[in-house]
Symmetry: C2
Subunit: 249 residues, 2 copies
């Protein structure tokens, strides 16, 4: 597995770390090339880690498409053949942080997570399934309720079969209902012209948070779509958000 890491100059001692999960069809290169986040990571003194979005494994022609599009959805697959390598949830939450903590001067008590689209889903479920592990979580145009999105369900069926209960354990809108733990400090942006809006189901997540009494800042921005100009336009706000929880003022 490859990952990108950005280490600002002039850090003093162990630095906070922000994990970024990219969306489908991306690699570890996408976020670092197209969003201009470096300026803000440098400004706030935050180390940023952005892993590749899925194992680069070929299982055969049909399954190649899922690999080619990077459709890991950051879950731990149960069904064969996916269960062998598609363990991205464990990779992002255990293996990768261990590698980072062993090899770079990070403060392991100060970590946050963010993501885009499928990676926004990955960030939300990682925060919801690990109360207190991340100081804050943010997402651009996250997939919020995959078990209710027909176009996404075929992927989850590859990984879990028809076990609806299992699928709900990887669905932020379902998870938020039973969340118990410290404040999550969630920030979400979505473009009002997002071409995948119907599949993202931000409103379902916002309603579930309201019912569960969980604070979430959801911002729907006029005229923006799902792409990287949207991200680069609001990346400053996301780093400002995380800095409030990761950095000493």
């Amino acid at each position: 597995m490859r990952f990108a890491i950005y280490i600002p100059d002039n850090l003093e001692g162990p630095a906070p770390v922000l994990y970024h999960l990219s969306g489908m069809s991306c690699s570890e290169q996408t976020f670092i090339q197209k969003t201009g986040f470096q300026r803000w990571a440098s400004h706030y003194g935050i180390i940023v880690v952005s892993p590749d979005v899925c194992p680069r494994i070929t299982y055969g022609v049909e399954k190649n498409e899922i690999e080619a599009k990077g459709l890991s959805f950051y879950v731990n697959a149960v069904k064969k053949p996916w269960n062998k390598n598609y363990q991205m949830y464990s990779y992002v939450n255990e293996e990768l942080p261990s590698i980072i903590q062993e090899n770079f001067n990070v403060n392991k008590d100060r970590q946050s997570i963010m993501g885009h689209s499928m990676g926004g889903h990955g960030a939300l479920i990682s925060a919801l399934k690990n109360p207190g592990k991340f100081r804050s979580v943010s997402a651009f145009a996250p997939v919020c309720n995959p078990s209710k999105s027909p176009d996404i369900q075929f992927i989850f069926k590859c990984y879990f079969g028809d076990d609806e209960k299992a699928i709900e354990e990887w669905d932020a809108t379902c998870l938020v209902t039973n969340y118990k733990g410290p404040e999550l400090n969630i920030l979400i942006h979505q473009g009002n012209n997002d071409q995948y809006k119907e599949q993202l189901k931000l409103q379902n997540f916002a309603s579930a948070c309201e019912k569960a009494g969980i604070a979430v800042s959801t911002n729907v921005e006029d005229r923006f779509d799902h792409g990287f100009y949207f991200i680069s336009s609001f990346i400053e706000q996301h780093f400002h958000h995380h800095s409030k929880f990761l950095c000493d003022s």
Copy 2:
């Protein structure tokens, strides 16, 4: 021909325009996706135009490679079959500005030009061949002396045959020797670890400028290479440079 145009919000009246020419293997998408220039174009109120780097024409297998890599070098080719469509100098200096002036609210008396690598060469020769047309010119890692770069000469031979005099008319280091006109206001950055340094020949250009009494700011930056992280690290300085000549203080 496709081009990208960035128009800042809240412009008042006709705005200055900065043309950006990309390097080989790029398209009109590259600069706008990978450099983060929008922040500075918006800050200074400058419209930015970045055209595709060559005609997308197929002449046959061998020639496809030149098209695929976008090796126009922003010249007007003389030899067949290139002379029909590879007239990028005229496109950049005449046809494209006419389209921009007719369709967008630009101040045609306030224009500057910049470029990267092959596009830096294009920016320099455009400024040198049109005294007074551009208020300032800047380049990242420009090809400065193509007639002395063996790896580049094969392209020029496609366009001009063995006519060395003709080739020198498209070579910034040769052109600067005979330049007569107002101040050029040239700013150049190059990475000290640029993998193409030997072909760029920045020192030849700097020496020719010195002999000709032409002011040029050349900045060789430690550790940077030829790529887009280099550009995005110094793009602010280039916009600041152009703003001094394009914008009212």
